[in-house]
Symmetry: C3
Subunit: 319 residues, 3 copies
């Protein structure tokens, strides 16, 4: 699609979901409202609607993520789509075929939606630019860039517990510089009018240029948590600690780990979020993760509803 | 679920299937009778019933077993369930997430049934203890402990050819100490009133404490087979022979392998069973495996029917 | 099945699809005509027909090929079949079970169709000989021998653009000696009455005995392409170049690579085909692969239609 906006069709409706950055507020709210209708869906006796019957959804995971892949698979099957999981590592791409040749081949198999996970930032945009009008692309995480369905499920979760976005203080804690989860959340929070978004962590992990996005930077965890309504902990990527950029797990826990004691600095009714999987005793203590303020498991449930909403919305919007 | 009985609900109905040990005779018979209705199912033109339509079944194979996984996948799809195969080795568990955190996450995705295979004895019990009331757990093999659907399909097979359990002599031959198949079969045979169950094999592989379960121990193969109505051969796990616990394949064949000649010691109409995959020329000779007394392939067919029965029974029993 | 013809039933209808060699012209045309009805299927809103509802199709890929496996999976799901992908490398076969024991076990699970890919020529024939009458075998590529659905999709593609088979000149270029794609195409073209089929390539890759199949051998690329209506490029298998049988990629490109300049030797309206995945700059230049004469992506689309046709035809033919 070659319109001015890479994600919207000529009517301003969602055609691809590539990034929360650049999505208008009413599009965000439309996805969330649609997802709301699917939240109680899991309690039904028959968890199945025919909205995507006879559609072909391809899970293209160039980077492995069993959990995210499974959530899209669940969402697609509950919408009655046919879903195809491509083992990209073992496929033609491994034989040296280019990304765009792979995509062109899958399109010729009459794909309707590509769900793309890639270690390179921007890969889903590249794919979206080269697909014909009847094919939709959903970004399931690209490099450090974006993870829009995670951002959306985070907003669903916040709205469920704290409906007044324009009165909230949200603290995002941890390795923000490497986190597509953080970037997507910041864009969504800003668009939804949250007045105070804090990025909390050591200097090596919280880039100063976030200030230009209207974010308040806190290198001190107490300052970061004080009075917050929402605490979003990020996962510490163990695989990155080897590089020296991150402190050790125990150092991180000592300086920024969310303990029950520290959580008392936030508002009494603050909620605690985490994209999972959690590192118990590293970025979050078990007492908090399993405690009454934790909404980590509701996030997972909202994640299925959001993915159902995104798939059904893009599939039903023509170019 | 926290009732006194880990597998039954307050009405004494099957809620989880974790082990044949402790299952009342009428529950065993109810599963077998339900399965009987599915046996001829494979001959139908449309092998599909809507009993589990819109239910989500998760295959959680922490230990690889393509065959058992496939049989559950077939059973679930024939019941019209949505089935999700999790590649646990590549999943979050590999990133250090705990078993119970993985399970809690999958529950939040509105799972109805977990089919669990694990190398640790007791893992399915642990999972069942931590699941909410609307989720059901089916053990697909845990360590050396239990493999209840295998035990049930063995009973289906025996009943098909030898309906009078209370008049039978059953010989189980091979590596009994390491075998969850043997343990499950012994519990089932005892519950169904089989008067003589023999455990046949070398001292290193047949533990003496089986006597307390009412089993007759035979270290001599001729004594073990003589007059038997049913001969259940176990698979010799090649990977265990390296440890020195097992004799070599050729030694085992010489001393305990089921040859046509040895089979003549059993009753003329004895049936020969094996859980598969068979090691031809090790625990069983081809003349026997492919001979008229072999019911190895019917066991496979009964296996699909039993798994359909178990999935449909637990899914329809509330806590 | 033990009739005189390994692929046809007693009524001369397709029972297995093992090889194009030996298939009568009317059977070929029947498959192509049936496939024609599925070509526009991908444009439908609901890409699903209930022709194979409740049938069990097993993808048995002893040799990895994500692309071919996916095309059969798509075809089966669009026909509403249940499809089971067996990870053969991790399965019982890896535990030393024989091919025929694996097959016998899967049959006992009430399989209707086996789709077989194997590195050994003839494996699908062996399987077909040992299956009962109600099970059908479709060859998805065996060793150097045959790849009949590829041959059929190639014929569909040619017929779409050049309907008069009996007036065509077809040039097949590349590593013909190792190519099951080439063998299947040659048999199909001959059966359909194509008067001139050329095998083009170096002496090491184009065996002289092809002459006995009525093929014209050209070691010179200009002679091979001159006046051709159809140019079928084969994939250069990089993994074979190490053996010294093949020239290097750059040598091959210089002597036989399809450049825009060379393509001018063929007829102005010649079509260019390739089974994919293409090696850009090796056997085919990007200007040709992406040019107006290329029908490489339509081949992929015809491939889905042909596989739907084959699965639905064999499933509905009794022995």
């Amino acid at each position: 699609m070659q319109y001015a906006h890479p994600q919207l069709n000529r009517h301003g409706e969602l055609h691809h979901l590539l990034s929360i950055e650049g999505l208008p507020r009413d599009v965000l709210l439309h996805i969330m409202d649609t997802a709301q209708g699917f939240v109680s869906f899991g309690d039904r006796d028959v968890k199945k609607v025919p909205l995507l019957r006879g559609k072909s959804v391809f899970n293209l995971f160039f980077e492995n993520s069993t959990r995210t892949r499974t959530t899209f698979e669940i969402a697609a099957k509950r919408l009655s789509a046919d879903i195809f999981n491509l083992d990209i590592q073992r496929s033609s791409t491994a034989k040296g075929e280019s990304l765009l040749d792979t995509i062109a081949n899958l399109e010729a198999m009459d794909a309707d939606i590509f769900v793309v996970r890639h270690s390179e930032s921007g890969a889903p945009f590249l794919i979206a630019r080269h697909t014909p009008d009847h094919v939709h692309v959903v970004n399931a995480g690209d490099g450090r860039h974006a993870h829009p369905t995670q951002g959306l499920l985070d907003m669903m979760t916040i709205r469920h517990y704290k409906p007044a976005f324009t009165a909230l203080t949200v603290a995002i804690v941890g390795d923000i510089v490497h986190s597509r989860v953080a970037r997507s959340a910041i864009h969504a929070l800003t668009t939804l009018g949250v007045p105070e978004v804090r990025a909390v962590g050591p200097k090596t992990l919280v880039p100063g240029d976030l200030r230009s996005m209207g974010v308040r930077i806190c290198h001190d965890i107490s300052e970061g948590l004080r009075g917050a309504d929402v605490v979003m902990m990020l996962r510490l990527q163990n695989e990155r600690m080897a590089g020296g950029l991150l402190p050790s797990a125990s150092e991180f826990n000592m300086m920024y780990g969310l303990t029950a004691e520290r959580l008392r600095l936030a508002r009494d009714d603050a909620i605690v979020m985490h994209p999972g999987p959690i590192n118990r005793g590293v970025e979050i203590d078990s007492a908090v993760a399993d405690g009454p303020q934790s909404v980590i498991l509701p996030q997972v449930r909202f994640g299925i509803a959001v993915r159902m909403a995104v798939l059904s919305i893009v599939a039903n919007n023509a170019a």
